[in-house]
């Protein structure tokens, strides 16, 4: 089978963590930090941290939720923060707005907890992203499958999850190319539905590869006859 379309170029991505100058010792300070910190900081503590802790599929979602749970000891707020699904946010501004809304509402409702000291401080950091061409591109499903199977966790996450911020859409690089480059809309939709919170990156990639294999089988010569 040959499917024509624009080529999908694979990149490798790596992140540096830059230590910021903001920190929080109470929920009120966390809220102030969330309002003031850079977009790169919100990205680091949500998108980037989910990538580097992808193997935790039971309740670990983002650094803010983890700190509220482990250091501020506020389970209900932690659950609310953990429930924010980064796939719903095509922009950091929208994600920040919701993080602030949730923490602000809690602080207003429980002013006695807002200024209570946490066990350890929360330090706001930032991600510095570096991308380098991987040196291969895909023009069809076979090459695409090969490329995806060779990506590191970070690069897979870059294309599959944080791509939403680049595309400003609720989709990912893979689905975007399959839909717009190869015209395979149902496959693109199925891939976009893979749950990254209940899968590790390895199991998410395995599901994606299975979906690609199923599609490839549809286009094998015997299937065409």
């Amino acid at each position: 089978m040959e499917l024509d379309g624009t080529r999908f170029e694979f990149f490798t991505v790596a992140y540096l963590t830059r230590i910021g100058n903001l920190s929080a010792g109470t929920l009120a300070e966390l809220l102030a930090g969330l309002e003031q910190c850079s977009d790169a900081s919100i990205f680091h503590h949500t998108f980037q941290t989910l990538s580097s802790h992808h193997f935790l599929t039971e309740g670990f979602s983002n650094d803010f939720a983890q700190w509220v749970l482990a250091d501020a000891n506020r389970d209900a707020l932690a659950e609310q923060l953990a429930a924010l699904d980064i796939r719903d946010y095509p922009s950091i501004a929208a994600l920040r707005e919701d993080l602030c809304r949730v923490v602000r509402a809690f602080c207003e409702e429980h002013p006695e907890f807002a200024r209570q000291s946490a066990l350890e401080r929360f330090y706001f950091c930032e991600s510095v992203e570096v991308t380098v061409p991987f040196g291969f591109a895909a023009a069809n499903l076979d090459e695409f499958r090969d490329g995806i199977s060779r990506l590191s966790h970070a690069s897979f996450f870059f294309n599959f999850i944080s791509s939403r911020l680049r595309l400003h859409l609720r989709t990912n690089d893979f689905s975007h190319w399959l839909a717009n480059g190869l015209g395979l809309m149902p496959l693109a939709d199925n891939i976009n539905r893979i749950d990254i919170y209940t899968n590790t990156l390895d199991s998410a990639r395995a599901k994606l590869l299975r979906l690609l294999d199923r599609e490839r089988r549809k286009h094998e010569p015997s299937a065409d006859r």
């Binding site: 490798t12 790596a14 540096l16 309740g59 066990l119 950091c125 570096v130 040196g135 590191s152």
Partner: protein, 411 residues
Amino acid sequence: MNPVQIASRIPLDDYAAVIGAGELEELRALAKPLHGRSVEMVNSTAVGGGVAEILNRFVPLSEELGLRIRWDVMTGGEDFFAVTKAFHNALHGEPYHPDPRDFDVFRAYTDLNLRRLSLDSEFVVIHDPQPAGLIAARKNSSAHWIWRCHIDLSHPDPAVWDFLEPFVSKYDGAIFSSPEFARQLSIPQYLFHPAIDPLSEKNRELPPEFIADVLSRYQIDPLRPILTQISRFDRLKDPVGVIRAYRIVKRYFDCQLVLAGGSASDDPEGAEVLKEVQHAAAGDPDIKVLELPAWAPLEVNALQRASTIVIQKSLREGFGLTVSEALWKKKPVVASAVGGIPTQVIHKHTGLLAHSVEGTAYQIRFLLSHPEIAARLGERGHAHVKENFLITQKLKRYLTLFLTLAGNSGG
């Protein structure tokens, strides 16, 4: 002046079995724009200490990736190292009343090393305070200088920090092991977690016969639960607190405790703490207090692998890399929530944290009662180390930093 000679080549391909071929391929892709670029690592000792241990592996692996890397060691007399040892303790927050001559000694040896070291690489990484003054060699060159600080600077003695800060602020960036160890600086500060080498003698797989032999040598029963803390005999590691926690657990489980650390013979305080530990352990044959030779990586590896639970009940801690060593071996870990430990032990996900003797004992009892949960924590701990605390990740961070400094991210 000769750089440190590393004994043997370390094939990067050996790591494919550990991290996967894809991760390795990406390391090579990241290194490609840096092929042939020169890197110089400078520290104050070629043997002993964590920095030398990691550079011994890091330098040959960087060569495998095509970097022209060299490792230089600054020289100094006893007077210099007496001063820098005092600086080290003062930067950790111990009270110190510096003599102005201490600063003169520091400056004199810095000048001496400025004359003997080449310091002409495109990327120069200076490790720790001892060689920090070498930034004077930078002058107007376009080289990129980074200061890698391996110690906790959160509460430094002001006199020493005020002396060092003007040197540090001339670098292009500083690297710390934890955000809480950093200072408010005018230069960018980066977070690099310390890392373990999965193929080193301390961490590689061992034949079961070797592990059995080590247990037999130290008269440890392989059929009963083994609780282990590996650390030097230092009050900040709270070995006596570990014994108290063990005694609580012992009421419920017929277990053994192993406290193993390096030789305390050349460390007066260590020898004193060792005596306290032996006194606290007296009369209980199930407590093994082992004074290992200074360099016994295979024995440490075997003891960790044989353990049912690994403990790190520190009162204060730097990063506490022994935790990652245990997690890499899929061991459930019970540890104090201090220093860099919570970064490694994510409570209830990759291990259990405690804040007291009683809490430590409770978490151990919980894990001994629920071996399936202990196994799950061990598996996740292994995944956490694989993703975040291996030497290959450290290589990746340095490559990313060099690419960022060189301004050729994005290809």
